[in-house]
Symmetry: D2
Subunit: 284 residues, 4 copies
């Protein structure tokens, strides 16, 4: 069986589900799972379908042509098709913190993440031994104010060369500029160590401590040009008390960061995130 | 617009989604929302559809006949159709505890629950004033060992007379026997004050205290003949510590009981619960 | 046995715990429970003690005099003494939303809250029937821009007359000005329907929806002159998804508001909240 | 400054806190933090004190002698003294699952755990490379039914040789017998992948799936001779749905297991767990 995932969005209108599932049936396929959502404010329909076809007779290019002509065009859809067997190429950027990296690679080893990791980039050498232990190529690319531009070009070359599909900033302590963002729109996943929109920017645990909050949070979001303001993929929170110091908050936060970032990676890798007007639709 | 909800389950097979949505389209309707699930072990397909039709031309009986003939029969489906405007009749059974009752009636007043409450039954008079404050008929039907049988018959008469669709046991401290259960299969919702299957039966907070658990829970489930063993609809948990006494557990538990029972009521009232072989499929 | 609670804070220094507990022992008392905290940044020591004395021989005024002279003065303490039997007088202010009011009064009836409620004030009549059902005096005091000043004076008179210890704003949709705040510093508890400091001010659920957060929260805090910026007592959060509309967020939020406000009331009523420099120390 | 932790339990009686803190003060020390608990059913008092002394003049042996004579004996206390600088020796036992091991070693590297890890024991070789990457000695000690007895003796020798204080079973898939348990009473920490007391024994995720629970949990407890029945240190839970397969439960459970086991390790390493009659008092 050939399994594919279809992602669709278009103006909400009558007959979309029936037409798409019927087209699949007429092409000897079967729809096995549908998620859908209507944004009532924007009048937009979103759908994610999983369907299966006969391996012997299914031709992806033919299907795409026919689908585009008979369904995509009439409904004025934006759509994508992803074969289930095709793992996304996921690059990891890190600096010196190792907790997210260990967590991601541990899950990668267990087969929990449906991705392939072609390499890890870091502006420091501290985590090189981890990459080695997991047999993943490691590129040490230091960054300074003056070299920022050249560095991003070097990064882009590596990304293109390995046909990277999306980038994970696993506590990469550098701003990503539009040079890279524009090449990977809604394809760079960051983990910000606060419950956004509270405590945007640097040192959010210090800010949370100063405000005396009773709960801290972590947010995974797509990177856009405005700092920590991109579409939110996933968040989680944990209780803190007056007796927790800033290092305590940082330690508690590490547990959140690992889990929230990994959830976001899984959702993206399974094509379960739509982005529309700076918000996400997440099919879980 | 006429809005209906369709509930379907049948052997998993090719073409179900396409056939159903296409049938709706051919009958001038539009499928607006689908939830579905395949139980891979049992090879059973479950689907809940929301669809809309033209108020002027839609005829429910005709639709049911046609759907049964052209879709239900060929696919050997079990199916139900519920008009969205039709509120279920929900009876409440209570004893002396008022927290769940206040919570349900508060939500009822706010319009949060898509039900109509024709009456409250209690084996005590303590909560009669609450029923009065919310203008809901209250039947005081005391129960003793000897009158149990007669009482259940009296209850059944009231339930039939008001065409009750489902029953909520809001801390009703009496066993329901098969006399009532058989008339309301998977239509009696209980709240058990433990995280089932731990601490079945009486005094679960005492048992939780004795075991020294660090978290207590609450479970809402459909009533079956085996005590506290019916299909689970919803559960939730809360932390406790060594310093919590049994009354503390009871007080913390009250908050859980209220919320978990109300969630179960909402799910049932919106036809979002399927029961299959003592487990539930819950479309949220 | 006569049970009292002592609240103490002073510059951190050697021998505080030993001196206080020894003083209690020498006065024929016994310390049964201690909570303490050192704010290392500010070098301030906070302590809450529960102790018991012989009912027959204990004289509160004598104890206070001696304690002040021998312990309070030498350590330059701020301290308070509260007999355990003395329930605080708690006034409730509401507008039209009933969920927090029902929740508070339900707990009040169960004996869960260690307070006495002398009256409820509202700028509307909608909730008067609830006050009546629970046999609590209800004062309808409408507010307009022009009458605001007179209204607050009328409220203050009622508060004084009933010797109110603290005020709970159970979704009271009016700004409290310094006229009242200055008379009740750190004694007015508000419930704000966002996870502060995110979404300060009006319509936080709308703001949360617009930002596309995956979790919403609620915050209970002491009222200060700066809006929604007072010391935080308690917070909690709940998950939301892209499919939740603004009314869904409001409904989910109601459950949080009830629980978070009640927790804050209990903490305050048991003298478990210290306020220091716009942050709280909460002994749970 | 010399910092020590005192752990005390004895029959509840008057003057304990005052006497202990006063004794510390008279020995030129200062009590900086107290946790205490009275088990009202058993009439037992538990206390954990942190106190500081002058490094130059403090003599641990003298202090212990004096404390035993003047406080321990008169109050008939069970007590222990732990210098804060003294890290416990923690042995890890594993089989083939790596998630808990990675998590523990990641935290160990960050300095989050106040322990020293002298070695890892495993009945398999699969995780040897992880031990190597973290520079921790690894002993491969295979186990069969016939060698069980000899194996436990070999393990005990290693434990004694390295003066191991407590043992962590990080998903070690072997039963520990009384041979080892009796040498390490309440000093062997296990992680059981269910919300105990639900689903004792093998394959708890399969049992949870079969029962159709909506929440799964994990429990860390001290190992006693009765399987999965020892004193509970920590638990946590996570939501599951009808759509989660058994592998999904296992994957979700891994996240819980890591966090719950690490919390239990931290509590034990900081001497924050008392065990009394198969329940724990946990000072957090």
């Amino acid at each position: 069986m050939k399994k594919i995932t279809l992602l669709i969005h278009c103006k909400d209108q009558k007959g979309i589900i029936a037409s798409v599932t019927n087209f699949i049936l007429q092409n000897s396929g079967n729809t096995t799972y549908i998620d859908q959502h209507v944004d009532a404010q924007e009048n937009v329909f979103f759908m994610r379908l999983e369907c299966v076809f006969d391996q012997a007779t299914f031709n992806t290019e033919n299907f795409k042509n026919e689908f585009g002509k008979k369904i995509g065009k009439p409904f004025e859809m934006q759509w994508q098709l992803h074969p289930a067997t095709q793992k996304l190429q996921m690059a990891i950027f890190v600096s010196k913190y190792d907790h997210c990296l260990y967590d991601i690679l541990g899950r990668y080893n267990t087969g929990e993440l449906n991705v392939h990791i072609p390499f890890i980039i870091s502006n420091h050498r501290e985590l090189e031994h981890i990459a080695a232990n997991f047999n993943i190529p490691f590129y040490h690319i230091p960054v300074t104010k003056d070299t920022k531009d050249a560095v991003e070009k070097e990064q882009l070359e590596l990304l293109k060369e390995h046909q990277v599909d999306f980038i994970v900033l696993a506590r990469y302590m550098q701003i990503i500029t539009s040079t890279v963002i524009n090449e990977y729109p809604n394809k760079i996943i960051n983990i910000h160590h606060s419950f956004l929109p509270a405590f945007v920017g640097a040192k959010p645990y210090h800010a949370a401590f100063a405000r005396g909050v009773k709960i801290i949070g972590t947010t995974s979001h797509y990177v856009t040009e405005e700092l920590d303001a991109g579409p939110i993929i996933e968040q989680d929170t944990i209780r803190v008390t007056h007796s927790n110091t800033i290092p305590d908050l940082i330690a508690k936060g590490r547990d959140l960061e690992k889990i929230v970032l990994s959830r976001a990676i899984k959702l993206h890798a399974q094509h379960k995130c739509f982005v529309y007007k700076n918000k996400t639709i997440i099919f879980t």
